[in-house]
């Protein structure tokens, strides 16, 4: 069965490229451009994984992550967070809020596909 990935990103070009990459990797892809829309899509589309940017209009990625984790119905949804490079506090905060992995921008396409795949397979973030 095809796995479903929800990409949440407000920057249209990046949303577009992530969409291309996820489709190419064989996923069923849904898109959202802000935090509120992301939560509605989690509700309606039941994705297996959310690829979640942090800086989002209306409701930021941390808040979306916290809300998903607070709902027992969504406990199996994998969350991979995306944010600008080098913000270490963000990484800690994201992992504490229950994200499964955390990827910094700019990312390599191959890496992001691998990390999404790994999170779906139930492996955590790569060691190191």
């Amino acid at each position: 069965m095809t796995q479903r990935v929800l990409v949440v990103e407000d920057e249209p070009n990046i949303l577009d490229s992530l969409s291309f990459l996820m489709k190419q990797a064989g996923f069923d892809v849904r898109l959202a451009r802000d935090g509120d829309a992301a939560l509605r899509m989690v509700e309606s589309a039941a994705p297996d994984l959310v690829l979640l940017d942090i800086m989002l209009p209306r409701r930021d990625g941390f808040d979306v992550c916290r809300t998903i984790r607070a709902n027992p119905e969504w406990k199996d949804v994998r969350i991979v967070m995306l944010t600008a490079k080098g913000r270490k506090p963000d990484r800690r905060k994201g992992m504490q809020l229950g994200a499964d992995d955390y990827i910094t921008k700019p990312f390599s396409n191959r890496e992001i596909v691998e990390r999404v795949q790994r999170a779906l397979d139930g492996g955590g973030p790569p060691a190191g």
């Binding site: 070009n13 990046i14 490229s17 490079k85 921008k105 700019p106 990312f107 396409n109």
Partner: protein, 510 residues
């Protein structure tokens, strides 16, 4: 407040500085010499009326006397020595009182130094923090990374997918071009921010303790070194002068006597008499300007908001000199002559019977909208390279800190005093200027008095070179022949320059 002031020492110094005797000054103040003696020994107060007359007698601003009366100076000094950052030695009540009363200049110097020290500490501490925590930079960083993310991702898509449909490939390539352009704009924004008007500039502007001279230089800059009201006032004043049969100097003396009952020659001491004629002409013009154009000068002062008293007094002098220059070198005729003589500075000097520096300076004030002259920059520096005056309308940025590029011919001019030196200089950004400089010296009157050496330089963008007689024998159309210069070594990227005073600028970022 005034009754408590102890101004004796300062009054004595002012008087002796003007080579006046107690008897003579007392006569002008309308008091007895012995009473003046008591005042000078701080045994009688200086009443406001006397203060006014004293200020008038020596042509100074009485605010200078009021601004930091010893009692206030003493209080300010006390606040310094009590400051935890004051390193010592401890100064007691008595020392402070004596310092404020007998050596107020030293007290003020201490005050200024300590304030500058505090400001520098604050700035240094704030700079790193400001750069790290600045919301603009934080946002810029996010935007930069966002653009880079896009560029990297699309580049990889194009690299990894040779068989992409043409329309899709084109769309992705367009994204790359678009993102790169946005990245370029962003880099420009960041460097604008870091530059003179940005993070570093803000600190300098916030400094509350800028010297009066720096403050005035800023004010002059905001006026573009052109004051229409003062030009009008000078023109009106010039019209009242008699036809100068005995030269402009004679006409000025006559007007001073006629309109203000001032006998300038009679007041002149040996120091004044030793001045070259053009300097005496200028002095007379300034005296007349201060007396006759007071209202126009006051309006300019009022328009510049609240200035500290020292700065206000200095600005008044600067504005007075402006009017004097405009009387000696009236706008219309001077601009015409400059154009006709193709800015031959020696001929202009001769034509208006004035000094090299005054001609150069006047050229930078020709900014009347619709009747502008060639846009020049101007600088005056001493033999150690300190800039004592600068203004730029030519587009050249004359640094205010960190010295000047040693390749500028203003320095070179000292090797051939009294001779005009000409240079076509090219800055690292490729902009090119024609520099005209001359070094001079002047001495105070009398045997053994030390000479002062200084250079005056003007310059303009190379495109105006045909308007200058100095470009006639120069190669101005071959940038490869230009002298490679910078602003100063600290800001200069020319690594291979043999005249470098220090290493190239450090690179911002980590």
């Amino acid at each position: 407040m005034l009754n408590e002031t102890r101004l004796g020492n300062r009054i004595r110094r002012l008087r002796t500085g003007n080579r006046d005797t107690q008897a003579r000054l007392a006569g002008r103040l309308g008091i007895s010499a012995s009473y003046l003696n008591l005042i000078e020994n701080d045994r009688r107060p200086l009443t406001p009326a006397l203060l006014g007359r004293l200020a008038e007698a020596y042509g100074i601003d009485e605010q200078i006397f009021l601004a930091d009366a010893p009692a206030r100076l003493r209080a300010d000094l006390a606040s310094i020595v009590e400051d935890p950052l004051y390193p010592g030695p401890r100064l007691g009540e008595r020392a402070l009182t004596e310092l404020a009363a007998t050596l107020p200049e030293a007290g003020r110097a201490l005050l200024a130094l300590f304030r500058a020290y505090l400001a520098t500490r604050r700035e240094a501490a704030g700079l790193g923090e400001r750069l790290a925590g600045d919301p603009f930079l934080a946002e810029a960083r996010h935007r930069l990374l966002t653009r880079l993310t896009s560029i990297r991702s699309y580049s990889e898509i194009l690299r990894d997918n040779i068989d992409l449909a043409v329309d899709r490939r084109e769309r992705f390539a367009d994204v790359l071009v678009d993102e790169s352009e946005q990245l370029t704009d962003l880099v420009g924004e960041v460097f604008d921010f870091l530059g003179a008007d940005g993070a570093i500039g803000v600190g300098a502007q916030e400094s509350p303790n800028e010297s009066p001279a720096a403050l005035i230089a800023d004010l002059v800059r905001t006026h573009n070194n052109h004051y229409p009201d003062l030009e009008d006032a000078a023109e009106a004043l010039r019209a009242t002068l008699a036809a100068p049969s005995s030269g402009l100097y004679g006409a000025l003396l006559e007007a001073l006597q006629r309109d203000h009952n001032v006998a300038l020659e009679a007041e002149a001491g040996p120091t004044t008499e030793a001045l070259p004629r053009e300097s005496r002409t200028f002095q007379a013009a300034r005296r007349l300007a201060m007396l006759s154009c007071g209202p126009a000068i006051d309006r300019c002062l009022a328009g510049s908001g609240d200035l500290p008293s020292a700065a206000s007094a200095l600005y008044r002098q600067v504005l007075g000199s402006y009017v004097a220059a405009a009387v000696v070198m009236p706008y219309g005729p001077f601009r015409q002559a400059a154009a006709d003589l193709r800015h031959d500075l020696a001929l202009l000097q001769h034509h208006f019977d004035t000094s090299f520096e005054q001609v150069c300076h006047r050229l930078t004030t020709l900014q009347r909208p619709g009747a502008e002259g060639v846009p020049f920059h101007f600088l005056r520096l001493d033999i150690a390279g300190n800039v004592s005056k600068s203004f730029s309308a030519s587009g050249l940025h004359i640094p205010r800190h960190g010295g000047l590029c040693p390749r500028w011919n203003a320095h070179l001019a000292f090797m051939t005093p009294e001779r005009i030196d000409i240079q076509v200089a090219q800055l690292p950004d490729g902009t090119r200027y024609l520099f005209v400089a001359k070094a001079m010296s002047r001495a105070a009157a009398g045997q053994g008095a030390p000479r002062s050496y200084y250079a005056v330089a003007i310059g303009c963008d190379i495109s105006f070179a045909p308007h200058l007689v100095y470009a006639d024998n120069l190669v101005t159309d071959r940038p490869a022949h230009d002298v490679p210069v910078g602003l100063n070594c600290r800001q200069c990227p020319r690594r291979d320059c043999a005249q470098r005073a220090g290493p190239p600028p450090f690179v911002v970022g980590t």
